[in-house]
């Protein structure tokens, strides 16, 4: 265990992240880059961008609360070190997505009311399931919920958004690229560290799997509502940005897919990743019912 954890040291993180792929960036993107004019000039598109960015801020706030709570629960120094770096990664994500809200025209004084207005209630429930586990001091469930389920969800959502923004909105795509690199590291830690703990504590499996099932339920409800709310602006967005060529995401061309097709490919991708990652740590994916 110690050898793999050495690659998650603070020193390694400093070299890889702030001194690596974030070097010479400002809020995760290149200096001077701005949001696409097509978004800023159209109220509907700007509102849709604010709505989707609010979900990112709320998700990252949950991740910040969860990872900082896990530092104190971690049973060894190397895990504490890694979770400390993850805490700062999540804080950076909160910061850069909040900055995007400001770039989209949200006034600083209106930040919290904007978040309250646009937040998806199912996403709040999703976060609550995770934070309850951390509040009760459950390190194993906390790491599975945070580093496998929440981070796995974020990873695929960010990848999809990065794919759709790469050509029409490079500033936001660059912001997302740095967060994707972070999430990949977080998921890797979750898989590597928690597998051995699950083996040591097989009695925890049913409880952890129930948590995953509850989180997956709220995640799928979040997707349903988000794509339903976004369906009206999909065509308008395509008209505004014009033909940008194919945007392939796991076999679906996002530049021409319907809202339902986009939801379907995202759900399939996230669940497939969950199955793979959970299997690696000795757990079986539990499909939620009623969604």
């Amino acid at each position: 265990m110690a050898d793999f954890l050495n690659s998650y040291s603070i020193q390694r993180w400093l070299e890889l992240c702030p001194q690596g792929y974030l070097e010479d960036t400002v809020n995760g993107h290149q200096e001077g880059e701005t949001e696409a004019e097509s978004i800023l000039e159209d109220d509907d598109l700007r509102t849709a961008a604010i709505r989707s960015t609010v979900q990112l801020v709320v998700g990252e706030r949950a991740a910040l609360a969860a990872s900082s709570g896990l530092v104190n629960l971690a049973p060894d120094y190397p895990s504490k070190h890694f979770l400390a770096t993850q805490t700062l990664d999540e804080a950076r994500h909160v910061e850069i997505f909040t900055e995007r809200l400001y770039d989209l025209g949200v006034k600083r004084a209106d930040l919290e009311s904007t978040i309250d207005n646009f937040v998806n209630p199912h996403l709040v429930k999703f976060a609550e399931v995770l934070l309850e586990k951390i509040d009760s001091g459950d390190f194993i469930a906390g790491v599975v919920g945070q580093n496998i389920v929440l981070e796995g969800l974020a990873f695929s959502v960010f990848e999809m958004m990065e794919t759709t923004n790469r050509v029409p909105n490079p500033k936001f795509a660059h912001t997302l690229a740095g967060t994707i690199a972070d999430e990949r590291r977080h998921v890797g830690f979750g898989e590597n560290r928690i597998g051995s703990l699950i083996k040591e504590h097989p009695e925890k499996k049913p409880e952890v799997e129930q948590m995953q099932k509850d989180m997956a339920y709220h995640m799928l409800k979040t997707f349903s509502l988000s794509f339903e709310e976004g369906a009206d602006t999909v065509d308008k967005e395509r008209e505004a940005i014009g033909d940008v060529g194919e945007a392939n995401f796991h076999g679906t061309d996002l530049s021409s897919a319907s809202s339902q097709e986009m939801q379907a490919v995202l759900e399939a991708t996230v669940i497939s990743e969950f199955r793979t990652r959970l299997a690696r740590i000795g757990l079986e994916y539990q499909a939620p019912v009623g969604v």
């Binding site: 040291s9 603070i10 020193q11 993180w13 400093l14 070299e15 702030p18 001194q19 974030l22 400002v26 809020n27 910040l64 609360a65 900082s68 709570g69 530092v71 104190n72 060894d76 120094y77 504490k80 070190h81 979770l83 400390a84 770096t85 805490t87 700062l88 999540e90 804080a91 950076r92 909160v94 910061e95 909040t98 600083r108």
Partner: protein, 271 residues
């Protein structure tokens, strides 16, 4: 490039006077600001010191076996203090009253974890093969009491008391101990301590500013916080008393640490 000639954060590009208070706090408590502050003294200094061409354990030093043993005890206690700081700072994120405080504390979490890592690494350089076991054996019991008390305040969700204990008292205690120790430490340890102290000053500044603002808004808290300070001052001075025995030099080390700590606390004039 060495620590001495590397340019640090260029404050000439940052004009705090032209900003409103909220924008100012957003700016100085951001990831960007933190990274600009630390990159000068962390770049090219893996594990807090210049890497050099040969493994640190192969480099000659003037440490006798007795000096080395004393240094190991001192570093074990620094690890206890930094673990307290790491767990305190991460616990405080949940109770911080606003976003910029949460983000500042997240930068502090990484700073404290880095300090713990560099001290653990130094222990390994000195031949300690089981740092966790060694820390348990050599930990100063009074420092353990201090840690428990700090974490109680954090867990109770008392923001102003936790801020006083963590970002003012603990940071002042560590700063005083590191400052005095650095005057007699071997070159590698001294360089590590100097880097750590730069972070401590930033943490102390946050505590001082935020607590000062809170006390001006809620002066009724002053008496309660003064009682907490009184209780924790006793623990700090008892920690120094034991720590001075582990450092080379005479009783003046203990007095120097205590004086430095009390002067810092009095200069802040918070409680």
């Amino acid at each position: 490039m060495s620590e001495v000639d590397r340019p640090e954060f260029d404050s000439s590009e940052f004009d705090p006077h032209g900003m409103n208070p909220e924008d100012f706090l957003d700016e100085v408590h951001s990831f960007e600001f933190w990274f600009q502050a630390v990159e000068g003294y962390l770049t090219d200094n893996p594990y807090g010191h210049e890497s050099g061409d040969e493994p640190i354990s192969d480099r000659p030093d003037d440490l006798t076996e007795s000096d080395k043993d004393s240094l190991i005890t001192t570093l074990c206690n620094y690890c206890v203090g930094e673990t307290a700081a790491l767990e305190g700072a991460s616990g405080m994120i949940a109770i911080a009253p606003n976003r910029h405080s949460k983000i500042f504390l997240a930068t502090q979490v990484v700073d404290e974890a880095r300090h713990l890592e560099v001290f653990l690494r130094r222990l390994q350089d000195l031949g300690v093969t089981d740092p966790e076991g060694e820390i348990e054996r050599r930990a100063n019991p009074t420092l353990q009491v201090f840690k428990r008390r700090l974490l109680e305040l954090v867990k109770a969700g008392d923001w102003s008391a936790a801020l006083l204990a963590q970002n003012v008292i603990l940071e002042s205690m560590e700063h005083a101990a590191f400052l005095v120790h650095a005057t007699t430490a071997d070159p590698v340890t001294a360089q590590i301590l100097n880097g750590v102290m730069k972070d401590e000053r930033r943490h102390l500044g946050f505590g001082e500013n935020d607590l000062g603002r809170l006390l001006s808004e809620h002066p009724g808290n002053r008496r309660r916080l003064a009682d907490i300070r009184h209780e924790m001052d006793g623990l700090v001075l008892a920690v120094f008393s034991r720590a001075a025995d582990d450092l080379p030099g005479d009783a003046s080390m203990r007095e120097a640490m205590g004086r430095e700590y009390i002067e810092t606390m009095d200069r802040l004039g918070l409680v």
